[in-house]
């Protein structure tokens, strides 16, 4: 008998059918993969299972009995635990304090729960220190805390919402080991992902959602990357390396012995040197916080140089962002919502942020709305931005469409150097393909791309050379043929340093 069963779950939001008669079941001791593009309805389904939303129709059965899950509290009581995509831990509290929250003893809750934590954690091969403050933990460690939390609460069904999106390959492997232990112990796991290889590595069955409906239900034996991707996207998808034969030109960017401090005044870049030629894609890999942000900030004129030189086409890089942009450096920032756009301003306004102050968008002190809207209209069409209108605030757009707005704006002036930071993070396959295609088109036109990413697939499929930032030092760059996923993973975690 299935442990958990969803029957004809339907959930509507204004104008959207988020879940359309979704039915699925999970048995004890199996890993069920739930796949789908962004907006396919995975998150809605998770929210319903965890009591954050109520379904409009349909029912949830636990061991054959209908259950009502109206709040996260109900879900926990029913034995459903969630390991959310972004940890929901109190970062200033210790691991034990976080785990005691809601279930600890009335007196000295954190102290008394510590032995229990260690017992549960060791039982499933999870290493955590109950006394460590959460802000000192890595993303992988925080995830372990979330898993232990669900187990401490007696979860029989464990939902893992895109758990590997923040992990290095080695950390992901460790997570899979834990998942296998849990499966062996008879737990039901729902693994949500859009990374197909991982799904194939761990899942017993796969359920694919598209536009709110279950479009595929495959046992592991019948699933393949191509088949799953086709189900997710609704058409066939190519997984070949995307880079054609590059036309590499002159040295465009020359970074010598560059050091810079982080906002917390620590030395974040230590003697970084590299060259980037026009037409070339240089990938920068690394675990977040190893100097990637600082490197991009220096190159976009946002951060001052402590030591060393940066030359763009033979002249020193200016030290303010507008002049850097004027010299042909486009910036696709890491935080696309807050840094890449002004969320409350319209699509047309966001598209004009780089160019509103000069002809043709303005004359003297006066803006020219007609020219402004005409340019925005053209850009929205060229980049296929799905927006209700040019006047819609960008905060109402999906992540993929926000990214297209940024690309349209940044790449409008035929940039020579494109700084692309996690350009496809959180985007679905369709939007990711478009971003990759646009970047490669620009290199064909002679632009150089500095691609900072934690997605090794992306780095390996686009880059000509890949460097790894580890604790502020640049390892490499290595020609892409000379590195593998595994080697990059080791370099990123200091395993080969």
């Amino acid at each position: 008998m299935p442990l958990l069963q969803l029957k004809h779950i339907t959930k509507r939001f204004p104008g959207v059918l988020a879940n359309d008669r979704v039915s699925l079941e999970v048995f004890p001791g199996e890993v069920l993969a739930l796949l789908g593009e962004n907006g396919a309805g995975k998150s809605t389904l998770v929210s319903i299972l965890y009591g954050l939303y109520r379904p409009d129709e349909g029912e949830i059965l636990l061991e054959g009995q209908p259950v009502r899950i109206a709040s996260p509290g109900d879900a926990l009581k029913a034995g459903i635990g969630l390991v959310p995509q972004h940890p929901t831990l109190v970062s200033r509290h210790t691991v034990a304090e976080n785990l005691a929250l809601g279930i600890g003893t009335p007196l000295l809750p954190a102290q008394r729960i510590a032995p229990l934590i260690e017992r549960v954690a060791q039982g499933f091969g999870l290493q955590i220190d109950p006394k460590a403050p959460v802000y000192t933990l890595s993303p992988g460690e925080k995830q372990r805390v979330e898993i232990v939390r669900a187990l401490l609460r007696g979860a029989r069904v464990l939902i893992l919402d895109e758990p590997t999106s923040v992990l290095t390959p080695q950390e992901a492997e460790a997570l899979f080991r834990v998942m296998r232990e849990l499966r062996a112990a008879g737990k039901s796991l729902i693994f949500i992902s859009h990374k197909l290889e991982e799904v194939l590595a761990i899942a017993d069955r796969c359920v694919v959602l598209r536009r709110g409906q279950v479009v595929g239900h495959l046992p592991r034996a019948e699933a393949s990357q191509a088949r799953l991707a086709e189900l997710m996207v609704g058409r066939s998808v190519s997984f070949a390396r995307k880079r054609g034969a590059p036309r590499i030109g002159e040295v465009l960017l020359q970074v010598r012995d560059l050091s810079a401090r982080s906002s917390r005044d620590l030395l974040a870049l230590k003697g970084v040197s590299f060259e980037l030629r026009s037409g070339e894609v240089l990938g920068i890999a690394g675990v977040a916080g190893n100097g990637q942000s600082e490197l991009v900030e220096v190159l976009s004129g946002l951060r001052t140089i402590e030591q060393g030189t940066v030359q763009l086409a033979g002249a020193p890089l200016p030290s303010d962002p507008a002049r850097v942009f004027a010299r042909g450096v486009a910036h696709i920032p890491e935080d696309r919502i807050r840094m890449g756009t002004v969320p409350s301003m319209s699509v047309a306004e966001n598209l004009a942020l780089r160019s509103f102050d000069r002809p043709p968008l303005s004359r003297g002190f006066v803006l020219r709305p007609a020219a402004w809207l005409a340019q925005a209209q053209a850009q929205v069409q060229a980049y296929a931005v799905a927006t209700p209108s040019l006047h819609t605030p960008t905060r109402l757009l999906s992540g993929g469409n926000i990214q297209k707005v940024i690309l349209a704006r940044e790449l409008a002036g035929r940039p020579r150097l494109i700084l692309a930071v996690h350009p496809t993070y959180g985007l679905d396959i369709g939007a990711t393909e478009q971003v990759h295609r646009v970047l490669l088109e620009k290199t064909d036109q002679g632009a150089a791309v500095l691609l900072v990413s934690e997605d090794l697939e992306e780095l390996l499929s686009l880059s000509d050379r890949i460097g790894v930032l580890y604790q502020g030092r640049l390892l490499g760059p290595y020609p892409v043929e000379a590195v593998s996923r595994e080697r990059l993973g080791l370099l990123m975690t200091g395993g080969l340093a």
Binding site: P72, G73, P84, S91, E97, L101, L107
Partner: protein
Amino acid sequence: MEEVLNALARALSFGTPLLMACLGALLNERAGVVNLGVEGMMALGALAGFAVAFGSGVGDGSLWLAVLAAMLVGALAALVHAFVTITLQANQFVAGLSLTMLGLGAAGLLGKRFEGQPLFNQPPEWPFTLGAIALALLLGFILYGTRLGLTLRSVGENPAAADLLGLDVVGVRYAAVAAGGALAGLAGAYLSLVYRPSWTDGMTAGLGWIAVALVIFVGWSPLRAIFGAVFFGLLYYLQFRLQGQSAIPSEVFASLPYLLVILVLALSGLRGQQGNAPEALGKPYRRGER
């Protein structure tokens, strides 16, 4: 020597209402709600306490009844703040400021007939001072040694996390704000029943504001609040002391509480105390905004 002892005694008697009000504000801030209405709630508490004591003829029993009434009125006033900021999700700072203005105005208006009326029985100060210190120790223990305190702190740091675990964020915040108001009311009662004991319009004289600033100065720690309150009680005493003895106009001294507030905040800034603020302080919680 006698001068020093006297100064210390006065510092304690000024420090007592400061500590009470500070603990109250600290409590609701730890749950993530700023209430700038402390001054107003103190005034209402002071009036309610005085009115009950005056109306019932002061016996020992009615003193406690009066204190209870003051705490109740403080809590009720705070519940208005809770409703506006937690349920209606209005800006906490603006709502708190209105509460202060409302409280001061209403207390002034309703208290007209008590103005200048003496309350003959002056209770001793020390039980209140000791009580406030005990309260600080108790609050420290609750925050760090009990499940209740852990829940409260978590709600103030990361309400979304607490909500996901099935904890009642709204309920905890309401309770914390009401308790904070009760303590502000208690501080007011101390002024009108013990320290003075009489009612005058504007008798809170900026103490509520200092209490709010003290929360930041002591880095949201109830134990440090004891020392902070005594320290600022001492400064407050010195202000009165100098007022009688110098040629400086009294308006300058009247403005001192507010200068003290600025001083408190400046000192806190130097010590980097702002970094101790609960993560979700001042932010309304909406489920689903992840």
